[in-house]
Symmetry: C2
Subunit: 626 residues, 2 copies
């Protein structure tokens, strides 16, 4: 967990410096900054917005178009009843504790993590080991926990224990976090006191809908719900064909207790979510699995995580399904398709791993039962033999009084196995033992309950589909992409930042630069700009008075793919130079030839290397004139 | 205002029927319908989502790409301070009144409008005139106001008065609406009582941000604010060049008192907004105005509206600017560009008019002063001669005590004209008369205040830019587009609905249909589908068992542009038929030729008529086989 991050070219990554580049170039910027800002809220400037659009464009082509998904756009505002039914009102929460002296609100798992990490760091220092720079918001943490960072050596057993706790940090509930705080005497450095017992804090933003203020509502914390609620309509739209997938791109909101620096944990974020609905009987096989089975993925399974390790398991998705590391072909197909998507947009595949969710992360919301129902007309009617229950309601009510509904619900919702057991109990003892969550074990005698094995003919099969939910936080992906695309060009007076986005993703494809403010250049610049715009290639003109070298540097930081220079030679013979961002190499040719080359590179049919083989390389110095 | 709406082909428009088609085909659907729905919230299904994407795609190309705008994506969640400063907290409200008996909440202007319209309708009936069907949610209104619809003849003068009130209905404040209710004795039909005095109801949804619940926030009611707050950063990003425009696409929220049926007044909506910032000294001219000056627009000016009329003034935008109907070239340029955008996406230009905002609709929010400031380095320093004021603060405070700040603020913010007048007063009478809003006229003597005409040299000019704000409610445009694209195909047993969207806008471009479930068709369908997908042309397959005719009808209702049929001839010789949605005519040719034709039609380089001239027309009956 404390690996040293590196740039695209293997240089040590200075995250704080990269962040400052991204802000200076307006990829993103804190919202409402002139009013002091609000943590967890960011605006995207022009390059960030273009990057986001390009990522979404590839996402739609890769998933929605390629797999014929049904894209929907649903309301963010959601009435209380929906999230009450789904369980979000009761369970969509993080654990929060308070500093007893200053009242600071802390997110409990983060607090435990920070203090234990600080102690481990202190231990390393005491042992004279090199302390690696921690990633992300290290500066902030240092400040918060400075009191806890003294170089104190720990017992080897304690180090091991702390490391195991940290490997499992996402798996503790509030009571367990509270126990860890007491057990290890974890104190808030600011007050030198243990924070209060963790309590659940619901992460949904609340509001009220309508003028009379009596309809409570929430901002959705994910887009899934809208897709589930439209399931019946979508199934009908799909002419009742299963399987099918819906997809949705839209903002979601979570009132995070402690948003982290950067775009990794924010309060308002763009999500792209897919809900792939399959028949549980046939949906584990996937028609197109053979297309992806040889793709190798880095997998981190549940058992490895539970053992406190972070060892990666590299294997083909074919083998992972065969060995049961991944449950079935459909799931495997989506994992591979997600990997291919990330690769396509420029995520460094060496930095991708797939982590299996832990048991307590597999929150199963109850809502989905209501709207998710498929009625499949059977080609041939089928005979079903099943244990059926019959209740004598007249006797039931008076006997169980206020509990009768709970008991009845458990009986009606019971499994075949359970019913078989009851049938035997009724025959043997004259009563069945029914476990009711609120009441414990309840005896139901045979004059109230009959359980029989019966045959019936079905013309329609009803079932609840299984759902696979590939979910993408676009901001997190965008931020990771910037990190993976970043490197520093060395040589010259100072290292210069470059963001090497792939052609389809680069926010601006072409920067056009006249050598100077000479008026003869203007019509050439205007014509080039017009032609590229007509070809729908995102282009900007930089006719500022800075040197050509400075203007290229600025555009390297913006990730601009290609650069055109208009110079005195252009005025004479109509030729222009084309420069490649990553190699800084240039070619020179007439305008039409260069425009064709640009279209080929941007469209993905050729690379810069191809173009260099075809066109005369331009070795002239970048003439600086200003 | 009671014109009869017609379809694209001039047929009477049955809006309720069109709505039912749009819902059945899942263009849009009430959100949370299985929980009873929430008024003013809608989900878009697959065709609506695709339509929305296509409209936005054209919007971005037409505005952002064409004009090099700086697109940003800003937070929806906004802290209180921002909308307090901007004036939204105090003024972003509608007038609401209550039924005294039943407590129903009514939007005051709508209430006045509905009752007066009902009376006018009753008058027409009494005069034996044909009562035209009212557009939009007529059914709902009828139900609500049925008590008020008796056929009672009104005096001619009263009719004229009501009509004038209705023409100005958007221009009354709460007190005025209250007076109208009393003057005309407007009663809520449900209770037969006058509703209460109108009170302001703020339309912003409120929430709180962060775990401690003490940071109040709102969902933005428009996207403009985010662009204004980023003005300084955007100006720097634009290398301090003026003019420039920013643009933003995103959701906004308004807690409407009474959302209307359909997508015209909803509580959550997608906006596309442009903020074009210009230098007030030079920004009235526009470089590209000559490109649009001959475009004719239908204009409805302020004076015409105030006179209670709705007469349209048709003129070129060139003449409108020359005659002062439109204030300046830049504004005229944007009006014409908006017109061209609407035309491009398929809005019926016969149904477009541009209405000048009334004075009370020109809400000027005060916030923009703070973030909007341009510092322009002057090429040559300039000498400025101005009246300058100097206050003796030591004497000022003790004299005016608690009022001193108000008086000082008025003096410091005064205009040149005002200062010149004070200079004269100070010279003549030894005191200046200062008008302070809260205090009235205040005398300030010459020992407190000096006003002198002085010269100074400026190297930098500071100014607040003027802003032009083209703002698009995408849902309203989408809904209008559906209405304008709709018509009923007559002939045959029953009229069939068609949505004639332009090629770039049609949600699905091509439907591929095998003639029957014969297995020989499957590989042809798969290959065609794969080829169209590779060309990034949105395609769906309909292999349902319905007849070809029914499948075509379904796709005409979905606005699908073209249809391909795979039949027995295809299996023999590889030819396929291509059908045009609007004419239902077909051509037949080999696959590659048809694919080329599709690309040309979808890309806009050829029309169906062009293709019909090039390829053999297919006259065969639609063979129905199932």
């Amino acid at each position: 967990m404390t690996t040293t991050a590196t740039t695209l070219k293997g240089q040590p990554l200075d995250k704080a410096f990269l962040d400052s580049v991204l802000r200076r170039r307006m990829f993103f910027t804190p919202s409402f900054e002139i009013y002091g800002g609000v943590s967890g809220l960011y605006d995207y400037g022009p390059p960030g917005t273009a990057l986001q659009s390009n990522i979404l464009d590839v996402w739609r082509k890769h998933f929605v178009l390629e797999e014929d998904m049904l894209e929907v756009d649903c309301s963010v505002l959601t009435p209380h009843i929906v999230f009450k039914t789904s369980g979000h009102v009761d369970r969509f929460a993080d654990w929060m504790c308070k500093d007893p002296k200053f009242g600071d609100i802390l997110r409990a798992d983060h607090f435990v993590e920070e203090i234990l990490e600080a102690r481990l760091k202190g231990d390393k220092e005491a042992r004279g080991q090199k302390v690696e720079e921690k990633k992300e918001d290290d500066k902030k943490k240092k400040k918060k926990i400075k009191g806890a960072q003294e170089a104190i050596k720990l017992d080897d057993a304690v180090v091991k224990e702390y490391e195991e706790v940290l490997a499992r940090i996402d798996n503790y509930d509030g009571a367990e976090l509270g126990e860890l705080i007491k057990k290890y005497d974890l104190r808030n450095p600011k007050s030198d006191m243990q924070p209060s017992e963790p309590v659940a804090f619901n992460l949904m933003f609340q509001t009220s809908i309508g003028p009379s203020s009596n309809l409570a509502g929430y901002l959705r914390p994910e887009t899934a719900q809208g897709q589930f609620l439209n399931f019946a309509k979508l199934l009908e739209f799909n002419q009742n064909n299963m399987p099918f997938a819906s997809a949705s791109v839209g903002k979601s909101y979570r009132n995070e207790i402690s948003p982290r620096a950067g775009l990794l944990r924010v309060r308002e974020f763009l999500m792209a979510e897919i809900e792939h609905f399959v028949d549980p009987e046939s949906g584990k096989k996937h028609d197109r699995f053979s297309e992806v089975e040889n793709i190798e993925l880095d997998l981190l399974d549940r058992d490895t995580q539970l053992s406190g390790q972070t060892t990666i398991n590299k294997m083909t998705i074919g083998k992972a399904v065969k060995d049961g590391v991944v449950d079935n072909e459909t799931l495997g197909y989506f994992l591979a398709r997600i990997y291919l998507f990330l690769k396509k947009i420029g995520i460094d595949t060496r930095k991708i791993r797939f982590r299996q969710h832990m048991a307590n992360e597999m929150v199963s919301y109850s809502s989905t039962d209501k709207p998710l129902l498929v009625r499949q007309r059977l080609e041939e009617p089928r005979t079903v033999q099943e244990w059926e229950v019959t209740l004598d309601k007249k006797k039931f009510g008076p006997l169980f009084k206020k509990d009768s509904k709970s008991v009845e619900a458990v009986i009606l919702a019971s499994t075949q196995e359970c019913r078989e057991k009851w049938a035997k109990e009724l025959q043997d003892a004259g009563k069945a033992v029914v476990e009711v969550p609120e009441l414990g074990k309840v005896d139901v005698s045979k004059d109230l309950l009959t359980v029989e094995y019966r045959s019936r003919t079905e013309h329609v099969r009803e079932y609840t589909p299984n759902v696979i939910e590939p979910s993408f936080g676009i901001g997190r992906i965008l931020y990771s992409l910037c990190e993976h695309a970043y490197w520093a060009r060395e040589g010259g007076d100072e290292a210069r930042s470059v963001l090497s986005f792939p052609p389809a993703i680069a926010p601006t494809k072409v920067i056009i630069m006249p050598l100077s403010s000479n008026k003869d250049f203007t019509p050439h610049v205007a014509r080039l700009s017009q032609k590229l715009r007509a070809a729908q290639i995102s282009t900007r003109v930089d006719d500022s008075s800075a040197t050509i070298g400075k203007r290229y540097s600025r555009n390297d930081e913006l990730g601009t793919l290609l650069g055109i220079t208009v110079d005195f030679q252009t005025v004479k013979d109509g030729t222009i130079t084309l420069r490649d961002r990553d190699s800084t190499r240039q070619v020179r040719a007439d305008t039409e030839t260069i425009l064709t080359a640009i279209k080929e590179i941007v469209g993905g049919s050729k690379t810069w290397e191809d173009i260099e083989k075809e066109l005369p390389v331009f070795e002239g110095q970048e003439v600086e004139n200003s």
